[in-house]
Amino acid sequence: MPIQIAELTFLEQLARRFNLPVPEHLDADASRAEVRQALARWGGKGVVKADVMGGGRGKAGAVKVVSDAHQAMQELRRIATMEVKGRQARTAYITQYLPSDTQIYSVITYDSRFFGPSLTLSMKGGVDIESVGPGDKRTLPVDVFKGLDAYQASELLTQLGCPKECISIMSQTLVNFWDMFISTGMRMCEVNPWRVSADNKPYACDFKAVFDAANFKIKNPDLRFPEYPESVTDFEEDMAAWDAASYRGQAHGSELGGDMILPILFGGGASTIIAETLEIAGGSPMFLSDFGGNPPYERMYGTAKRCFDHNLHRASLLLILGGKANNTLIDVTFQAIGDALLHYTEERGPLDIPVVIGRGGPRMVPGFIAMREMLENVRLPYVMFGHDTPLTLVAEYAARLARFIRQQKEGHDESQAAVRSSKEG
């Protein structure tokens, strides 16, 4: 999962540091008196918002304009527990309501067209940027060494027809916006919209950012990334921490919601293809994994152990599949997976699910022998394919086999239930 933050974190940790003007805000712990005083200071109106990752807050009713303290406190309590598009809010907060006729959209991101960062602006802020026509937005490549200067920002704003009175201050603000982007290791940051006040001052009224986990700047101790509830499962959280623990070999794992095949997959490309094939063929893969990158033994063992500990008890089939590796040593990875499987059965008792394997690459022969011996030891049924069988064919076969196993099990469970009920009867 990418590291992301939303508006509240921006308000609390970044805006002041980078001199970016924002509306005043109070968090959900604010007392009724504090909210009352704030509303009075803000001209009687505030906006209560959910701190939740992802968009769609407005349509879900998680953004509410309030005009008195009683209503504000009620909404803070209600919105703090809301779910938006399946995601639980972390908390709620209230910001100053800023009416404005001028709303500006801005995003800085790395852009494949320029092989570097770019700034995109539009005067049609406050709406989904994808709905804005190409004539109403402008993108400017930014020199990654020199950064954005106010002159460039000013040119862009002028081209878009920004009111002259606010071009200067908005340009300066965008330079600060760039400074934040490049100083904190972000890969994308967006303010939508900047609301321009009557005195021509822009205020960042919504914010989101995605950070680049590979950039050392995100390790700045002044920047704390909040944890959002239910955004990841225990398995994903465990895998993410394990993945981050070392750069030797991949250890990605993202839940797909399936419940039949436990897939230990190798290679970013191969794993995507296999998971797609499993889904299409009804194999219901539990997660999307990529365990390639030539992991050493201990890395692969830890990865497999986590996958098994979280998922093996509910799997109908274990699939170990990848393409013909260029670099990943098959004997090392298979020995590690085999040991993790062996230790799982030693700790939790025997398994009775089939194992389907397909792989090729360096040191494949000793790897296959080690895996076969381990599977014989733990007495699991298995089929092993070499690299002359396409991985998509193996995935399709695994999906069909898993469906059969599931049907058998369900039939068995049903007949057991029938026996029980007839005995009880």
Binding site: S112, N326, F368, T389, L401
Partner: protein, 691 residues
């Protein structure tokens, strides 16, 4: 781009340098690359250098401490024009800068293999390389292979690139390194080989975009067909499609687009995590763009309608599953009237190499029940050899610098997980020694006692043995007591004391395929007399043939004794004690019994004129092999370890014996008394003078 055609990326005669060449991955890959292409002129590794990575059969790879020193010390004619970066992510920017500073006009291409380079650094690298007119591939590329000229950089093709990359007419361009290899393998079944295999890299910013590769392919005659493996993210494909349409690109393209799975899901995984700059960057958007360019729907193996329409397939086709690529390629070849590069192989199908369905097999419907196929060569022969050679545990190698199975220290010191205090209180030295050396506590009580008896027997064979002399020499020189043990150990080896190890090796050769489960069983099911007779006859045949030819032959280890050798039937008294200990425990030892049968059989067949003594080394080998036999058969212990245990059993006892000689010599001897007087020494070389 500086390259004008694909060979501009890599060709025969290019000089390649590798950064961080001594790293775990770089060193392994570079050795394989050097064997395949022999194009690496050197590498550098900060803080290392002044060494050469040996590559069997071709030039070694000289290692320099820095990039600057590589350029300073290599002759100018050897200066690299291609550089592969394998440095850790945080070092990549600095390495690229160094390469650009020193590379000069000769430098053409930088391949950045490193993963997890930040996007900011990637953008900076692009800017630097563009300014220097140097092509840059990556980051996170696996490399490039030019199959026609038998050269590669990076790991494309793994350890057997020739097997996958047969020279042919397809250029494979893939966001995934693994898919380059995998697709090339599948294309072989359509009779289509590879011209270039290119791993573009899979980070957010792909520094050489697809359109540039297509331009190179357009200018390369050997490429007839382009195969693409594409993932979501970036506008690289829409840009390429626009260019192909505009320039009327005349080579058909086969494309597989992955990543639809991630649409509508909050998943950022591998390549699919690229910044999405609009709907065109999604998997669906890319599929639509290609279909629109091709002017035909995706390949459908059941639809024969495409086959007769050369015009429709002129631009290529998209496949929806990876294993349709060869069929789609054949369709294009047929439609365009092309011959394949080599004869078409069997179509791709399920080829299980190993199957054991166990009880499940009875329940499976015919459609799921598979039959094992013959494993293709050379793998069939490799499996056969490995299985034959596979005896005992074959653990995967790993970095053991800071880890140990044998010991641990948490609240207490531990031996294979058991607390040392508990072992001290409840177990004998022999039991703990077996645990520490084999990883398992002894299965039988008598085994520890036998090990202790072997240690006692190994203490000494008199002061004249060279190992005892070692201890005495150390005392005579005035050394500290521990040096006596070192000196004693330094004087034992394969000839003196190492016979037990040879004995284990010999016994395993005889017994490994006989299916013995318990070496102490009263009846192991093996006719030892017959086995000994056969072995003796084979030995006599070898011995006679060798004598007739006047050449040496391999003796049977652990038979015969320099002292106990003058009777018709000879015994080593120490071995008898071990033998009796087995009897006292109500057990046999099949290996020791075999040795006695063999000594008798050798006399019977005329290979010996008397029954040789089964010596103490045979007893040592038999004791340790008996202890280790079950773990060895169950692949919990390596054969090397069993051989070594037998040798170490002698070495441990004799080291203590050497210490005893030291203590005695130190108390009663005089300094330097072991020195031989000069008059007792004879010169075998006449005195000579330097000119």
């Amino acid at each position: 781009m500086r390259a004008r055609r694909l060979s501009g990326l890599l060709k025969k005669g290019d000089h390649v340098a590798v950064s961080n060449v001594t790293g775990r991955e770089a060193s392994g890959v570079s050795v394989m690359s050097q064997r395949y292409a022999n194009n690496i002129v050197g590498g550098w590794a900060l803080g290392k250098g002044r060494q050469t990575i040996q590559v069997p059969g071709c030039s070694g790879i000289p290692v320099f401490p820095t990039c600057a020193e590589l350029y300073a010390e290599l002759p100018k004619s050897q200066h690299p024009n291609k550089v592969v970066i394998y440095s850790p992510p945080t070092a990549v920017y600095g390495e690229v800068k160094e390469v650009l500073d020193h590379g000069g006009a000769n430098l053409r291409t930088i391949f950045i293999v490193t993963e997890h380079v930040s996007i900011e650094v990637t953008a900076k690298i692009y800017s630097l390389c563009k300014g220097a007119s140097v092509d840059v591939l990556g980051c996170n590329t696996l490399g490039v292979i030019n199959a026609h000229e038998h050269v590669r950089v990076g790991a494309v093709g793994g350890d057997s690139p020739e097997e996958t990359f047969r020279p042919g007419s397809a250029t494979i361009i893939s966001n995934s390194g693994n898919m380059v290899n995998t697709i090339a393998t599948y294309m072989l079944s359509a009779g289509i080989g590879t011209h270039f295999g290119i791993s573009t890299g899979k980070d957010v910013l792909i520094l050489t975009p697809l359109v540039e590769y297509l331009k190179l392919a357009a200018a390369s005659e050997q490429t007839r067909l382009v195969v693409l493996y594409v993932e979501p993210g970036g506008l690289y494909e829409s840009e390429a499609v626009e260019w192909m349409r505009k320039t009327e690109f005349d080579k058909p393209v086969l494309v597989y687009v992955a990543g639809r799975l991630t649409e509508g899901r909050n998943i950022s995984l591998g390549h699919a995590g690229a910044v999405v700059e609009g709907p065109e960057t999604s998997a669906s958007g890319k599929m639509a763009a290609f279909d629109d360019y091709f002017g035909v729907g995706p390949f459908d193996p059941g639809d024969r309608g495409h086959q007769h329409s050369a015009d429709k397939l002129r631009r290529g086709i998209r496949v929806t599953t990876l294993h349709h690529l060869p069929e789609a390629a054949k369709l294009i070849c047929n439609a365009l009237g092309w011959k394949p590069d080599f004869p078409v192989r069997q179509p791709l199908k399920l080829n299980p190499w190993f199957i054991n369905f166990r009880g499940l097999g009875d329940k499976l419907p015919a459609s799921l029940y598979l039959h094992q196929v013959k494993i293709p060569e050379p793998y069939h022969a490799q499996f056969a050899r490995h299985i034959k050679e596979s005896f005992g545990l074959k653990p995967a190698r790993r970095d053991m610098r800071n880890v140990s199975h044998a010991s641990a220290l948490d609240d207490v010191a531990r031996v294979y997980g058991y607390g040392l205090p508990e072992l001290m209180q409840t177990r004998s030295f022999g039991e703990v020694l077996i645990l520490y050396w084999t990883g398992e506590l002894p299965r039988h009580d008598f085994e520890a006692r036998l090990v202790e008896m072997c240690l006692t027997a190994s203490l000494t064979n008199g002061p004249g043995t060279i190992s005892a002399q070692g201890g005495k020499l150390s005392a005579s020189a005035g050394n500290s007591p521990h040096t006596a043990m070192i000196a004693t150990l330094a004087t034992i080896g394969e000839v003196h004391g190492g016979n037990g190890r040879k004995g284990v090796r010999y016994l395993v050769k005889v017994f490994r395929d006989l299916g013995i489960n318990d070496p102490y069983a009263p009846d192991t099911g093996v006719d030892l007399g017959e086995l000994a007779q056969q072995t003796a006859r084979r030995f006599k045949k070898t011995k006679d043939a060798a004598k007739e030819s006047g050449v040496g032959y391999e003796r049977i280890p652990c038979l015969g004794h320099p002292v106990f050798n003058d009777q018709p039937v000879n015994y080593d008294p120490r071995e008898r004690i071990i033998y009796k200990a087995f009897e006292d425990a109500g057990r046999r030892n099949v290996f020791l019994d075999f040795y006695h049968e063999l000594a008798r059989a050798l006399r019977d067949v005329g290979a010996a004129n008397k029954i040789w003594a089964v010596n103490m080394d045979a007893a040592l080998a038999s004791v340790w092999l008996g202890i280790c036999w079950v773990p060895l058969m169950e692949k919990r212990i390596t054969l090397t370890r069993v051989e070594d245990c037998s040798f170490l059993g002698f070495a441990l006892g004799r080291a203590a014996g050497g210490a005893a000689e030291f203590l005695d010599h130190q108390d009663y001897g005089t300094p330097m008394d072991m020195r031989l007087p000069a008059k007792e020494c004879e010169a075998l070389t006449r005195p000579r003078k330097l000119q």
